[in-house]
Amino acid sequence: MTSITETDPPLQTTRARDKREALYPYLLIAPSMITLVVVALIPFLYAIYLSFHEARFGRVTEFAGFANYASLLADERFWNSVSVAATFVFIAVPIEFMLGLAGALILGQNVKGRSILIPLLFMPAMMAPVVVGLLWKIMLAGSWGFISYNVFERFGMFPDTSIFASPDYALYALIFVDIWQWTPFMMLAFFAGLQALPVAPFRAAAIDGAGPLRIFFRLTLPMMTPLLAVIGLLRFIDAFKVFDTMYILTNGGPGTSTETPSILANKMTFEFWNIGEASALAVIVWIAFFIFCNIFYQVAKKRLNAF
């Protein structure tokens, strides 16, 4: 809809107008893009700058080359945080994915009262992560939390302490909280995808007398694959950057047993005040995220035709 004009003006003005027309979209995006450059690109570039300098206690001193990166990559604590995050993501996300898909299929049956159930099931995903942390502190903390007392104590688990204080199980408690928070959302997202599938192939299959399992594996699953991939990838990216809930519940402890790169970067900055190395960590995480984003974008664009 770029060049629809009323009459035929002289050539000169047409050219001037064409030029203006061509500028129009850039004019529309300019305020936003300038803002984003200021609030996203400049901090990023500044983080890169910091990562190549010796910077402690808020004072940037001398150029350090790759020293920050070298000491970070030699730090066992960094590799521990990577493996903690990997454990967290690779256990939580597949479980959320499977349960969410099962839930979506259940919700797709004759369920009454969806108009009330669906909004309520959105609650965990939409609420503040700090409140999620608070909720599970109440449920699981100490030996007096609701579940600690009514379930764990009854079975003689974690006597006199909280599951969050147990080096072996704290991470699994965090994984459980993440599953609690995100499974309902996965279920509703998959359900929305199911509802959007065309009806005709399913009718045809039913007429041909295909069983429900056959319909699921031959029709539903293949048709849903791009959508499943996109939602799964997005959840994967989000799970890597979980911070608030962990900060409230364990803050990386006990020891370093639940310390993810996010928690470690935060500690490096605001507890050890080693800003150079923290920035190096931030840059590495950032690059990893950029790669994930790119994959997400390509998959969503090509397979789902979404963007």
């Binding site: 809809m1 629809i4 979209p25 529309l28 995006i29 305020p31 893009m33 803002t35 984003l36 200021v38 609030v39 996203a40 690109l41 901090p43 990023f44 500044y46 983080a47 910091l50 839930g103 049956q109 004759n110 369920v111 009454k112 159930l117 909004p119 959105f122 609650m123 995903a125 939409m126 503040a128 700090v130 409140v131 909720l135 599970w136 109440i138 007392y149 609690w180 309902p184 509703l188 929305a192 995808g193 959007a196 959508l227 939602i231 997005l234 950057k241 911070f243 608030d244 900060y247 996010s262 935060n266 900055t269 800003i275 920035s279 931030a282 950032w286 995220f289 984003c293 790119n294 979404a306």
Partner: protein
């Protein structure tokens, strides 16, 4: 008769399972809700006490400690940042949906990346820059910081709403000789109103829930509701009842939003990839 009987039985079965799941999922929220009214001595009584004489002490303390100011701060900050985002983000979303541009794909990826970037990575440079230019603990500082994730989110999702609009209306208006501004104001924005409201409300909620930026870049002047919650862990012990009150208050807008926006939440949280 037989089929309708079996179908009503299957309705009962599947509804029962779904309701059971919803009850299990929502139970912690319900439990925190009851703690708002629980006297301290029954809060963590062993064995668990299900029935208790309700008290309003926790509410009294929350008001006395000035938490309504935190509520006000949160509200002001979220409204401010969301308003600004709608103002500058709407034309951008429209432009991205309608026009061909040079390096559009790269611009997109940049927008997406600034949305997805882990907040911890951003907060470090933000903190240092702000401490040098004196933007720590200011509304302007936090409004700007919230733009990193919310402006990019807004553009991205609103763009998917723009793409749903039929282009023919704009073409007809152009044929009528309307100017571009008129087309935007009289055709595009009215048609886009639902999308704008839905996306803006989601932005508001993200800002409302935000913790890390508010915690690190805020302070005594700008202290939002989520940041005020950990304050209730005092030297005299944890004020659970008060925490429950503040937590439940912060859930009120969320509760309103899930009921009003339910169709758009999936679309929002999947960056427009899934149309709910």
């Amino acid at each position: 008769m037989q089929t309708s009987d079996s179908s009503s039985r299957s309705t009962l079965f599947w509804t029962g399972i779904t309701v059971l799941y919803a009850v299990v999922v929502l139970f912690p929220i319900f439990w925190m809700g009851t703690m708002m009214f629980k006297p301290n001595e029954t809060m963590f009584a062993r064995p668990t006490e299900w029935f208790f004489t309700p008290t309003l002490d926790h509410f009294a303390y929350v008001i006395e400690a000035g938490f309504h100011w935190n509520l006000f701060t949160s509200f002001l900050l979220c409204t401010l940042s969301t308003g600004l985002i709608v103002l500058i983000g709407t034309p951008a979303a429209y432009a991205f949906a309608r026009f061909e541009m040079k390096a559009k794909d790269d611009l997109f990826l940049f927008i997406l990346a600034s949305r997805m970037a882990p907040p911890v990575c951003l907060v470090i440079p933000f903190y240092l820059i702000y401490s040098q230019i004196g933007l720590l603990d200011s509304f302007l500082g936090l409004t700007l910081a919230y733009m990193t994730f919310n402006l990019s989110f807004y553009i991205w999702v609103l763009r998917s709403f723009c793409r749903d609009l039929p282009v023919e209306l704009e073409e007809a208006a152009a044929l009528e000789g309307w100017s571009r501004l008129q087309i935007l104001r009289r055709v595009v924005f009215p048609l886009l109103r639902n999308g704008i409201v839905a996306t803006a409300v989601l932005c508001f909620i993200f800002a409302w829930n935000e913790f890390l930026f508010a915690f690190m870049l805020g302070g005594r002047t700008v202290e939002t509701l989520p940041v005020s919650i950990p304050k209730l862990i005092t030297a005299q012990g944890v004020r659970w009842g008060e925490m429950a009150v503040v937590g439940m208050i912060s859930l009120v807008p969320v509760l309103a939003v899930v009921f009003v926006l339910q169709r758009h939440i999936v679309r929002g949280l999947t960056m427009g990839a899934v149309k709910g």
